[in-house]
């Protein structure tokens, strides 16, 4: 197929490189440097999609970031991405795209019937219609809306692309490489400032690429190229194209999304698809330009109706005619520039100007070229369904209320210019309170909030001369503050045509008897009539009107619709626009890929993985691992075809009968040192610590100030002023912060230092009746007898030349020890334990067996210390000192905490001694009671008791103290189980604790 709308000469594309691509299954050709939009237009394709609500045919409206219609599903390198703007997607060989929001095809769309039923789809339609019956929502309404109204479809496959994050600092960050951005960057760079210049398009230069101006002795475009080339050679400057600054956050942190690979058929090896830049800038220059705004008229959404600036850009940048019989509809001089470009390429445009008698250099040029100009004329309605075929036009009275006789003229496109709207999003995001500028009928930035300045068209200044002057000056001044250099430079001369005042006219009245849809928001199908309904129904705040009508809420965030919406509300409400106020601009300015936001933090990179020094041994011995926070811990060691249940039972049983070894490296360890260490512990723990002798360990519980248990663990007095504290794996970091808080802020007079030693020590728990025999073999020169190393004793030992710490502590409830060596010797220690343990039938055990052992002993862990329980609830009130004060003690007097029927830990056994009780089950008195069935407590942990060979659980139960012997039901609606149970003591095995002391 030939590119029938491509002009012979002109455009910035590379005509030496032809590219083939597919759209809706059909093959076309374009050139390197095209966007998907320009390539389709070159092929005369204007129909690209269907609208959101009425499924009306949609074409191209803009040529860049402001595009509301041309959203496609993109296929690249075997992957698919939804909601890509065809006006932003650069063409590459083999690109494939499809229309979205149409079914079965863009040419015949069943949803278009909504167009004829539109009387039923006014503002607030979704709110009004899909409210009831409630049960219909998930089954009927939601799937219907999704299918009928969805944009693209997200891929369900794993994303193979890589995304990067980068942190950067600079003196001056510049958003936009138009005349203002280039001048500011150049001046600042010459002063030695570190500058980042960001441009969202592939080409630098902004408006200079399409405007007919001269700077110095060159065309604007050549001047821009020269500046960029020089900036690229400067070591203090980073220039980035395809990079959109989409968010302006606190303290001059801006975020930029760089499309590294989207313009290529596939991402290069080791390259990311996108790179997200977090930039902390000392100063920010916002030179984001302006976006042309539409004039509202009948059927103004018909394909072929587009912004006049877009038509000019397609012609000057891409060498594409958007039509051969163009009608230009304007209220200012910009439309003439487009008409002149058409004329220069041998196409005869007709210009309709709503103004009565405008005069300017540009208009003179158009007249001299013989362009047909009709003053005081407007487009009443576009005609044609899938493409503009003609236009109904009419003269308009000076007060813009009366239309003359309607005429129909042939045309194949309507290029609209309703003047310019500064792009103030970034300034507004920074906290700048914007102000309404009467002369341009638009908002501009007001007082700077952060270190930001907005210049050029983004600041409502449309004269190139003034833009260059202010931007060169700003670049110099801002950089001078930072670098203290002051390289004066001459501001180049500018040749530009003067323009005349625009017309405040923005909406064509409906002719008598006609009911054309006049759209404000093209992506969300919000018409003038919808806003009128919203106001009639009593919506006043612009924020409410926005949400009720969805005006400006589509993916284009109303870039072309906001101001016209405000104009309409202000007219109906008879208020001035600034009194209506605009809705808040929030990041992101344009949609950002979720992948870019997530960056590398996916899969196993989403958090660090911590492994103990014995990890490789566990791997070699068939350990099945479980995530414990960021740690990987062996859950069980699989033998043959064993499952989790069988293996953990075997491992736990072996601890009870012989001896087992468990990797406890992950426990938090904190060195507490200093003359006041004992005093600190005494304030932090609920029990007393002032009399603990050297060489002894003690179990302690620490509370938060609100009386809730924070953590538990043993702390050992290594020497006079040195304690070794252990915490649970999960709370290690919090406990350290907690101690630092009290030492630095509350009790700075305490002479104590704390430091984490978790990673410095490898730990192995040796547990079981034969553990002492094994220990004696490992430490033949130490007296590890019950007298030499009694329960809660500590000693140092020599493990075949390696210094070891030996603690006689037990979590399993068996006779047990914990041996610590420096991490580097962890594997050596472990191998020795296994080697010498062989004769005692040692087996390694994982976290599952560890849980079983502690549960049937009634030892509490994270599932009981869950941030909702006090010492009493965990049967730990014996550890709460009555004599001394400690963190959280005062809270324990709260009435709920001393209530007679306070919750307390209990044991739970199923009556049938067979059915395991799911963790989280609720305990209730009557399993048949009507809902909501009063809950007495919940199952916190469950195991299969290896001691009694039946299921056993722990529960936190209301009035648990007086419930022993009661029969209740454990109910788990999630698992659909109701289990009759008996409440027993939480100390199911060895209630007197004789084994640990044996």
């Amino acid at each position: 197929m030939t590119q029938a709308f491509r002009i012979e000469n002109g455009g910035l594309i590379n005509k030496d490189k032809k590219l083939s691509f597919k759209f809706n299954g059909k093959t076309y050709f374009g050139y390197e440097g095209d966007t998907l939009a320009s390539a389709l237009l070159a092929n005369g394709v204007h129909l690209v999609g269907r609208s959101f609500k009425y499924h009306r045919p949609r074409g191209f409206f803009g040529a860049g970031v402001d595009e509301p219609y041309a959203v496609v599903q993109l296929y690249r390198n075997g992957e698919t991405e939804p909601n890509i703007k065809a006006t932003e997607q650069e063409l590459f060989e083999g690109l494939e795209a499809k229309s979205v929001n149409c079914w079965p095809s863009v040419n015949f769309d069943i949803g278009a019937i909504n167009n004829f039923l539109r009387i039923f789809l006014p503002a607030g339609f979704y709110y009004k219609t899909f409210m009831w019956p409630k049960s219909f929502w998930y089954r009927i309404y939601e799937p219907f809306i999704r299918k009928a109204a969805g944009l693209g479809v997200a891929s369900t496959k794993h994303d193979k692309e890589r995304y990067e994050h980068k942190y950067e600092y600079c003196d001056l960050l510049i958003a936009g490489s138009g005349p203002s951005g280039l001048a500011g960057a150049y001046a600042a760079a010459k002063n030695g400032a570190k500058v980042i210049l960001a441009e969202d398009k592939p080409r630098f230069g902004g408006s200079l690429l399409t405007s007919d101006v001269n700077i110095g002795n060159q065309s604007g475009k050549d001047w821009a190229e020269g500046i960029i080339a020089e900036l690229k050679t400067m070591p203090n400057v980073v220039v980035k194209n395809r990079s959109q600054i989409f968010g302006y956050y606190d303290h001059n942190m801006l975020v930029m999304s760089e499309k590294v690979s989207d313009h290529l058929p596939s991402t290069k090896k080791y390259h990311p698809n996108k790179r997200l830049w977090y930039i902390r800038a000392k100063e920010v220059l916002i030179s984001s330009g302006s976006i042309e705004r539409p004039i509202v008229f009948g059927n103004n959404d018909t394909p072929g109706v587009m912004l006049s600036s877009a038509a000019k850009e397609y012609l000057k940048v891409y060498g594409v005619l958007v039509g051969r019989k163009p009608l230009v509809f304007t209220n200012n001089d910009s439309g003439y520039e487009t008409a002149i470009e058409f004329k220069k390429h041998g196409v005869d445009p007709v210009v309709l100007d709503s103004r009565k008698n405008p005069e300017s250099e540009i208009i003179d040029e158009a007249k001299n070229l013989g362009i047909n100009i009709k003053n005081s004329y407007v487009v009443v309605a576009a005609q044609g369904y899938k493409k503009v075929k003609s236009a109904d036009i009419a003269s308009i009275s000076e007060d813009k209320k009366q239309l003359g006789k309607i005429e129909n003229i042939q045309c194949d496109c309507i290029c609209v210019s309703g003047f310019w709207t500064p792009t103030i999003h970034l300034a507004s995001q920074s906290g700048n309170k914007t102000k309404f500028k009467e002369e341009i009928d638009a908002f501009v930035p007001g007082q700077s909030k952060q270190n930001e300045i907005t210049l050029g068209a983004a600041n409502g200044v449309f004269s190139l001369e003034e833009t260059l002057k202010t931007s060169f000056t700003a670049g110099s001044e801002l950089s001078k503050k930072i670098t203290e250099n002051d390289n004066k430079m001459a501001i180049p001369n500018v040749v530009e045509k003067k323009s005349s005042q625009h017309d405040k006219f923005w909406c064509v009245p409906l002719p008598k008897g006609k009911n054309y849809k006049r759209f404000l928001d093209f992506q969300n199908d919000v018409a003038v009539s919808d806003v009128e309904i919203a106001l009639r129904e009593g919506y006043r705040s612009i924020e409410h009107v926005k949400r009720y009508t969805t005006l400006g809420m589509a993916t284009d965030q109303g870039k072309t619709s906001n101001l016209n919406g405000l104009q309409l509300v202000s007219e109906i409400e008879n208020k001035v626009v600034p009194a209506v106020g605009h809705t808040t601009f929030r990041p992101p300015y344009t949609p950002v890929s979720i992948g870019a936001i997530v960056g590398r933090e996916v899969g196993k990179h989403s958090k660090p993985t911590r492994k103990s020094p014995m990890h490789s041994w566990h791997e070699k011995n068939n350990a099945v691992f479980v995530d414990a926070g960021v740690w990987l811990r062996p859950r069980y060691y699989k033998r043959g075809n064993e499952n989790l249940f069988e293996a953990s039972k075997r491992e736990a049983k072996n601890v009870r009968t012989n001896v087992g070894v468990c990797d406890v490296t992950t426990l938090g360890k904190i060195d507490v040192k200093g003359p006041d260490a004992a005093e600190l512990l005494n304030r932090v723990y609920t029990n007393g610590w002032l009399k603990l002798p050297v060489g002894k360990a003690r179990y302690g519980v620490m509370l938060r100030e609100d009386g809730i248990v924070m953590d538990d663990g043993t702390t050992t007095r290594i020497s006079e002023n040195h304690y070794h504290m252990t915490t649970t794996t999960a709370q290690a970091a919090n406990v350290l912060s907690h101690l630092e808080y009290y030492l630095q802020l509350v009790w700075p007079e305490l002479n104590v230092n704390v430091v984490s030693t978790t990673e410095q020590w490898a730990g192995a728990a040796i547990a079981g009746p034969k553990s002492r025999d094994l220990l004696q073999k490992l430490f033949p020169n130490s007296d590890v007898s019950n007298e030499g190393l009694p329960f809660m004793g500590y000693m140092e030992g020599d493990l075949f030349g390696v210094k070891a710490r030996i603690f006689r502590i037990s979590f399993s409830g068996e006779l047990a020890y914990e041996v610590n060596v420096e991490s580097d010797y962890g594997n050596f220690m472990w191998e020795k334990i296994v080697e010498f343990g062989e004769e005692f039938k040692i087996q390694p055990y994982g976290t599952e067996a560890l849980s079983t052992l502690r549960i049937e002993m009634g030892h509490v862990a994270g599932s009981e210390l869950d941030g909702r329980t006090i010492p009493f609830d965990n049967a730990l009130e014996g550890l709460v000192s009555k004599k001394k004060d400690f963190i959280g003690k005062r809270s324990l007097q709260r009435s709920a905490f001393i209530a007679e029927d306070r919750q307390r830990i209990v044991g739970v056994v199923p009556l049938d001694k067979q059915t395991s009780i799911p963790e989280g089950s609720h305990l209730v008195k009557d399993d048949k009671a009507p809902l909501p069935n009063p809950k007495l407590g919940h199952i916190s942990a469950s195991c299969w008791s290896v001691e009694y060979d039946n299921p056993f659980s722990l529960a936190i139960l209301k009035d648990g103290k007086n419930m022993i012997g009661q029969k209740l039901f454990a109910m788990s609606p999630l698992k659909n189980k109701v289990i009759p149970v008996e409440i027993v003591s939480s100390h199911y095995v060895d209630p007197k604790g004789e084994r640990v002391r044996s």
Binding site: Y249, D250, N252, G431, E740, P748, F886
Partner: protein, 89 residues
């Protein structure tokens, strides 16, 4: 993301810090008789100010020091930062 001047380390991004609440709260002395109301004020009751607020942050991924930050809760402007036990005028 806030940019916080750690008095020990210099300007660092917020993601190196963790927030610690109102810095004006003073823990009652140990072993002191104290009413329910006073204790509740210490543990639970916070003003949730709009405007200038002295708050605690810990430079958790840096020097691990707790610091005090004078910040406007509505604009996020940071006026001054202090070491844990610095006198605040």
């Amino acid at each position: 993301m806030l940019y916080i001047n750690c008095p020990h380390c210099g300007m660092r991004s917020q993601n190196e810090f963790s927030y610690g609440g109102d810095a004006s709260v003073k823990r009652p002395e140990l072993n002191k008789e104290i009413s329910d109301n006073e204790w509740d004020d210490f543990v639970y009751n916070r003003k949730s100010l709009r405007g200038k607020h002295l708050e605690l942050w810990q430079h958790i991924s840096g020097c691990r020091q707790w610091i005090k930050v004078e910040r406007d809760t509505s604009t996020h402007e940071i006026f001054r930062t202090f070491k844990a036990n610095e006198e605040i005028a």
